[in-house]
């Protein structure tokens, strides 16, 4: 080829990291950006978690104790928004930034400057969202799903800030996703064919596609809320020929793929960790890939299962019920494969494996309650009760968040060059495991008994359950401080980690030293 690329390249020969604040502001390095994403998401996790503590403190006893109902609504809303867009999604993007180039043998992400831009938008977006809480009339109080007319007719002035902050979060996610997808398509090392890619790369590939497909739909939904509230349109107003249910259709067309955006990368993480600690190859690699793709495909045709009680025609209810139940087939394939991987494996129980095992069991519980919710006539009973809250916290906290913890422990030696403190980490695991179940399992019973969600007060018969749940909540919140301690301790020192600290681990990321040098794979490795 006639290009002279490479020869005139004098800029990237510094192998040590630059120093000072501009390193972080101006960086184009996927590892720096990955670390910033991870720290940002952890800070947001603590902020969103504090809001959950406010909620649980208020619900500790029946009656209004600590906060007024409007503030309670703001807490549930912003807790949801922060955990979804500020904690889980950036954590996965951070993991993708760190690990995808290392796993496919690429020198960096495909579009490094855009990568930095995607990250730095987030602090501004969340600063705006959080600042809106202090405005007159309060911040968003309509639930993270911002259903019309709560977000249009009945919302406070600050809604415009919510809308624009979601817009720039969306821009950030789309750019991040484009970067991941292009990196995977274009930057794989020679010999790294699609069906040789680690599953974390595969699941992120499909996640990135989902993000690019649905984040713009969310942008459309918030735009319609903005114009309905401020510019006199009536997309969601029957008097003008619109329909509030239209909002729910548009929102959940985004929202359902969104929940898979928050779980597919977890599947990839678990599919890396379970084989490593079972010292066996992953059972059914290709079926894992097809199952992920099937889940992603189905996610576009199940959105109205969030809307069974809106009075849709029966034909639609039945279609969405069966389509939703179909998802359990590829999901079942995955759970089966993880269990089959462990079958007759030589298993050890280091912390990443403990979190992965807890993921498999607890995510499956969340999956089963999802299946219950998928059944239309039963959902009429469960809808908008604590059963739903229990369901999605099982898949998001003991699912997505546990997988992120597992990933952090699994790759911390690679990131920091030190082994983490295994004793403390085990404390973190057992405290989290016990408290998370104390927190979310009783919610099933509260929901089945009829306790509605998003309510600051409740009837007396729910008092015992709520007390247990709140204690579980505080314990879970405090347990995460152990994690913070472990991470800081590991970053500052500790036993030196070898290039491959886990005996059974596989993949290109373990062929580079620990900590991974500032630049890796400048010459692509050959994959056999």
């Amino acid at each position: 080829m006639s290009t002279v690329a490479g020869e005139m390249d004098h800029t990237d020969h510094h192998h040590h990291a630059p120093s000072g604040i501009t390193r972080w502001l101006f960086t184009t390095n996927h590892k720096d950006i990955g670390s910033m994403y991870l720290w940002f998401s952890f800070i947001m996790f603590l902020v969103g978690g504090s809001m959950a503590m406010v909620i649980r403190a208020e619900l500790f006893q029946p009656g209004l104790q600590l906060v007024d109902p409007h503030f309670f609504n703001q807490m549930t809303t912003v807790h949801g928004l922060i955990m979804v867009f500020g904690a889980v999604m950036p954590a996965f993007t951070g993991l993708a930034n760190w690990m995808v180039p290392l796993m496919i043998g690429a020198p960096d992400m495909a579009l490094p400057r855009m990568n930095n831009w995607s990250f730095w938008i987030l602090p501004f977006a969340f600063a705006i969202l959080l600042a809106s809480l202090f405005m007159e009339g309060g911040g968003p109080a309509f639930g993270w799903t911002f259903y019309a007319p709560l977000s249009t007719t009945y919302s406070s002035d600050s809604t415009a800030l919510f809308v624009f902050s979601v817009h720039i979060m969306g821009i950030s996610s789309i750019m991040g996703a484009i970067n991941v997808i292009v990196t995977i398509m274009n930057m794989r090392a020679p010999g790294m064919t699609y069906m040789k890619m680690p599953l974390f790369v595969w699941t992120w590939f499909i996640t990135a596609f989902l993000l690019i497909a649905v984040m713009p739909v969310l942008a459309g939904a918030v735009t319609m809320v903005l114009t309905d509230k401020y510019f006199g349109t009536s997309f969601f107003d029957a008097a003008g020929g619109g329909d509030p249910v239209l909002f729910q259709h548009i929102f959940w067309f985004f929202g359902h793929p969104e929940v898979y955006i928050m779980i597919l990368p977890s599947f990839g993480i678990i599919s890396a960790i379970i084989p490593a600690f079972s010292r066996k190859r992953l059972f059914g690699y290709s079926s894992m890939v097809y199952a992920t793709a099937a889940i992603a495909g189905l996610s576009f045709i199940v959105w109205a299962h969030h809307m069974f009680t809106t009075g849709m025609p029966v034909a639609a209810e039945i279609f969405f019920m069966y389509a939703t139940m179909l998802i359990s087939v590829p999901t079942g394939v995955k759970v089966f494969n993880w269990v089959a991987t462990m079958w007759r494996g030589s298993i050890t129980f280091e912390t990443p494996m403990l979190f992965a095992l807890a993921f498999v069991i607890l995510f499956t519980i969340g999956g089963f309650s999802g299946l219950m919710l998928a059944i239309t006539p039963v959902d009429f009973q469960y809808h908008d009760t604590y059963f739903v809250v229990a369901h999605f916290h099982y898949v998001l906290v003991s699912g997505a968040i546990f997988s992120i913890m597992a990933a952090a422990y699994y790759w911390l030696p690679k990131w920091t060059g030190h082994m983490y403190d295994e004793t403390l980490a085990k404390w973190h695991f057992w405290c989290s495991l016990i408290s998370v179940n104390l927190l979310f399992f009783p919610m099933h019973f509260a929901g089945l008994a009829g306790m509605p969600r998003r309510i600051p007060d409740y009837s007396l018969q729910f008092a015992d359950i709520n007390q247990i749940v709140s204690i579980g909540g505080f314990a879970f919140g405090l347990s995460q401080l152990i994690f913070l301690w472990v991470v800081i301790k590991c970053a500052r020192g500790g036993e030196k980690a070898p290039a491959k600290p886990w005996e059974g681990a596989e993949g290109l990321e373990w062929t580079v030293p620990s900590p991974a040098p500032y630049h890796t794979f400048e010459t692509p490795p050959e994959v056999k």
Binding site: T11, P107, A125, F164, I168, I174, M187, G220, A221, P313
Partner: protein, 293 residues
């Protein structure tokens, strides 16, 4: 995958992304407050100042970022593999834009096929009509809303048809310019690119004239019910994209005059041309579903 593995260009650190993030942050914060100020009829309107400040920062960022980008490209730092990254990135960006329009088309279809019909009593909604909106009869275009707002109807003959022809022709002229570039025929390139820009500007002018006509003569406004909503939101967002596309074409024209681009190295031109074809296709869908049907 082709086994070409030149060294991939990983740029050194750059100040532009953080400048862009500050710009977007100011725009979001400023736009939010501008909208709130408008609603409260606040006169001290600092929201708009923040918004324009943000836009200014973004313009500086775009100039700086693209200047660096163009210099690197012209000094031959880029490999074919990087070119692939850019092309794939642009394709996925256009896909995301398609999904953005899909949300508004979805709203249009839902309103036409479901919401308005149901308000008129279709499906199992006889009582909705009978009790809540007894005087309402379903029709499309919705020239009288259930709430009683009346508006005119925008036909497809005349301006919309001319605009359709103009945009379709501009897609071809843009392609001729691209062919000229690939054949290294600079005269053909400059001529057809110039014509494309003129057509884009004419389209925007006529679209403006159509809005004036709709507001003044037809009484069709943004707030006249779901017909006006979908009409203005779809054509409005499309118009914004044509404006952006035209600006991109103008920048390409200036770069062509400066002698940039070669037959095998012209990503920016190609991306602009893809973008232009994309706004054309969106318009054809608009013309069919918003105007004709």
């Amino acid at each position: 995958m082709a086994q070409q593995h030149e060294k991939y260009y990983v740029p050194a650190s750059s100040p532009w992304p953080i400048v862009g993030a500050i710009g977007l942050g100011l725009i979001a914060f400023g736009a939010g407050h501008t909208v709130i100020d408008m609603k409260n009829e606040a006169t001290d309107g600092w929201g708009a100042n923040v918004l324009f400040g943000g836009i200014a920062v973004m313009i500086v960022m775009l100039f700086g970022w693209f200047r660096d980008q163009i210099n690197e490209s012209m000094s031959g730092l880029y490999s074919n593999q990087l070119g692939h990254s850019y092309r794939q990135g642009m394709s996925w960006f256009i896909f995301s834009e398609i999904m953005f329009f899909a949300a508004f088309f979805g709203a249009l279809f839902y309103a036409r096929v479901i919401a308005v019909e149901w308000l008129g009593g279709a499906s199992n909604n006889a009582m909705t009509n009978e009790v809540l909106w007894p005087a309402f009869e379903a029709h499309w275009p919705l020239t009288e809303t259930p709430g009683g707002t009346k508006s005119g109807e925008m036909g497809w003959m005349g301006l919309p048809l001319y605009n359709t022809i103009i945009l379709i022709v501009s897609s071809f002229t843009c392609h001729f310019a691209h062919v000229g570039l690939e054949k290294n025929n600079r005269k053909q390139l400059t001529l057809w690119l110039g014509i494309t820009i003129v057509l884009g500007c004419i389209f925007l002018y006529l679209q403006g004239a159509e809005y004036v006509h709709a507001y003044n003569d037809l009484g069709l406004t943004l707030d006249s019910g779901i017909y006006g909503n979908t009409f203005y939101m779809l054509t409005g967002f499309h118009g914004m994209h044509v404006t952006l596309g035209t600006l991109m074409l103008i920048i390409m024209f200036l770069r062509v005059i400066k002698g940039h681009f070669t037959p095998d190295n012209h990503f920016a031109f190609q991306a602009t041309s893809w973008y232009w074809h994309f706004v054309d296709v969106v318009w054809v869908c608009l013309f069919i579903f918003v105007y004709v049907l």
